[in-house]
């Protein structure tokens, strides 16, 4: 039976790294790569 008290750490959604970052408002290179100043230039 379904346990209504269960807590879902993923809120029931299968989020990939890129979805998590997009939802967080991040717009990183390839979704999860941070460039340093030299690379950005």
């Amino acid at each position: 039976t379904t346990n209504v008290l269960d807590y879902d750490v993923d809120s029931g959604r299968d989020l990939d790294i890129f979805d998590i970052n997009e939802e967080a408002g991040l717009n990183l290179v390839e979704g999860d790569i941070v460039l340093d100043e030299r690379q950005t230039r």
Partner: protein, 658 residues
Amino acid sequence: NSIIGDEYRWPKTIPYYMEDDLEINAKGVILKAFEQYRLKTCIDFKPWSGEANYISIFKGGGCFSSVGNRRVGKQSLSIGSNCDRIATIEHEFLHALGFWHEQSRADRDDYVNIMWDRISEGKEHNFNTYNDNTSSSLGVPYDYGSMMHYSKNAFRNGTEPTIVTKIPAFSDVIGQRMEFSDSDLLKLHRLYNCTQGSTFLDSCDFERENICGMIQGQGDKADWVRVAKADGGPNTDYSNMGKCTGSGYFMHFSTGTANTGDTALLESRLLYPKRGYQCLQFFYYNSAGPSDSLKIHVREYDNANPNGKLRFIKTIDGSPQDLWQLHHVSLDVKKKFRVVFQGTKEGSGTFAGGQSLDDINLSETTCPEFIWRVKNFSHVMENTPTNTSIFSPPFTSKEGYTFQMELYPSGKAGSPGELSAYAHLVAREGDTGQIWPCPWKQITMMLMDQHPHIQKRMSNQRSVTTDPNMKATDSDRFFWDDPRKVGVEVTHTDGSKYFRGPGSGTAVYLTHLRAKSRDFIKGGDAIFLLTMEDVSHLTVTQPLPSTTQQPVTTAVTTTVTTAPINLCLSVQCLNNGVCMVDEGKAACRCVVGDDWWYYGDSCQYKGSIMDKTTLALASSLSVLGVMLLVTAVSVICLKKKYKKHANNSSVVMENISA
């Protein structure tokens, strides 16, 4: 694919600092990810102790990292909310070690089609590739199974996939977030010149005739024999389950043909431990008599015992069953040793069978505590309705807390085609000795990939941690409080009653498609490995590097001063500067780039080559101006002097003349 350039490599042991803002569960999973690196690669991690460059792991707004060692001192890597999955953490650390995503390698268009019209507007740059002057795929073929590959729906604007694999069978393979693939490991080994995993010791599936260098022990009266089937069972090995003709071997001691009291010793090759603790894992098929025994020993070697001294570890209590049973034995060996399997025919009855061993793995890791085997798992997955769960038996940890795993074989509502998994605390009437709400215990639920070789396994695991302060949804009650208070009473299959607290876990533990892949189901069965570990030590701030220098010796362990004071605690370095103690004083070491740098006591100022050029030009012009001024003044003075001199001379001349 890896970034080209030796300057981007880290040393093989990487210093890390876990910032205070990290979630406790994330800290625990990060340590588990480090253990996978240690088991499968030569990369190791150590707490930062003042090295010039280190990785600072913090809770940012998502999961992200830089690519390679940027040599900036403190290099940040974020493990934010929902990033506390082992594969996500391994993925971000692979970036830090110098890898981009798999589908950005130079030859990717040979293997996947990028559907540009299905990509969200402005996100096309995420599908750039790097040419082979910038990146290297290290001679490894394109890997659909890489944990660095995007999934098929990455950055899509609708419902259609953005990446279509040229081989359709790989369409749902891409984007796996379970574990390192073989190719991920091969590339990492090539990039860092690895020869072996630092905590791996041995693995044997007995497919080769040399039986991995194992030997028959001396002084025994019977032998273990390498066979493909045995009278009385088993009919197949466990590695291949008899699927491949001409292969599928295991080791068998036929107690049926042995005399009462006969023993057979099977000893591993010599092994050299580093950590002092090990986990021995193996599959055991017991078709021997009920009183026959299998004992595990270690044979340890030192100067006093050059031929080795046998030390008993434990008796395996696998009763005879028509089944390959998984066993774990914790060892604590600190010197050169062998593992010894001792089979003994104890009983006098006649049984056709014997004792069989297969898929032995030995590593310097901790053993999982509990095993939950779900038989006929394919059938269970296909025939259990959605929203219906099954429970593992209750397991009690060494600290006295009891828990159990809840599995929805066909997922919960909204997640059909998934396995959903939750962990519950459990208590029985009369239980005493626990602290409630349960403080900081990390429960890990791992679906074991039953590949014979531990380093090639891609097991799926998720962890949850009991935060004693967590409140239940829409309630003032603590989520991890005593199940007798916040749980429901249930009846066990044996008729006993206990209380089960609310569960914490995920509806999207693993898709059915992935669960049917690899060796998650073997012989029809799935094996869940469960642990409950205390992680309360992770609530404490990681110590900053000490100001005192440890003497470089292994024999003496005294320190230069007895009470190290961290001078850096009172110093704040701005702009990612790193505080270091130099000659007894705290000083900031500032971040430096190719043509820019920070400076000042706390790295508060920024300089660049452009500033330097401007300064040089201004200085030159100033010097020129001063020189011109001096020259002009000099000329004027000289002029005046000679004019006066000339005037004086004429007077004298007049006088002389007169």
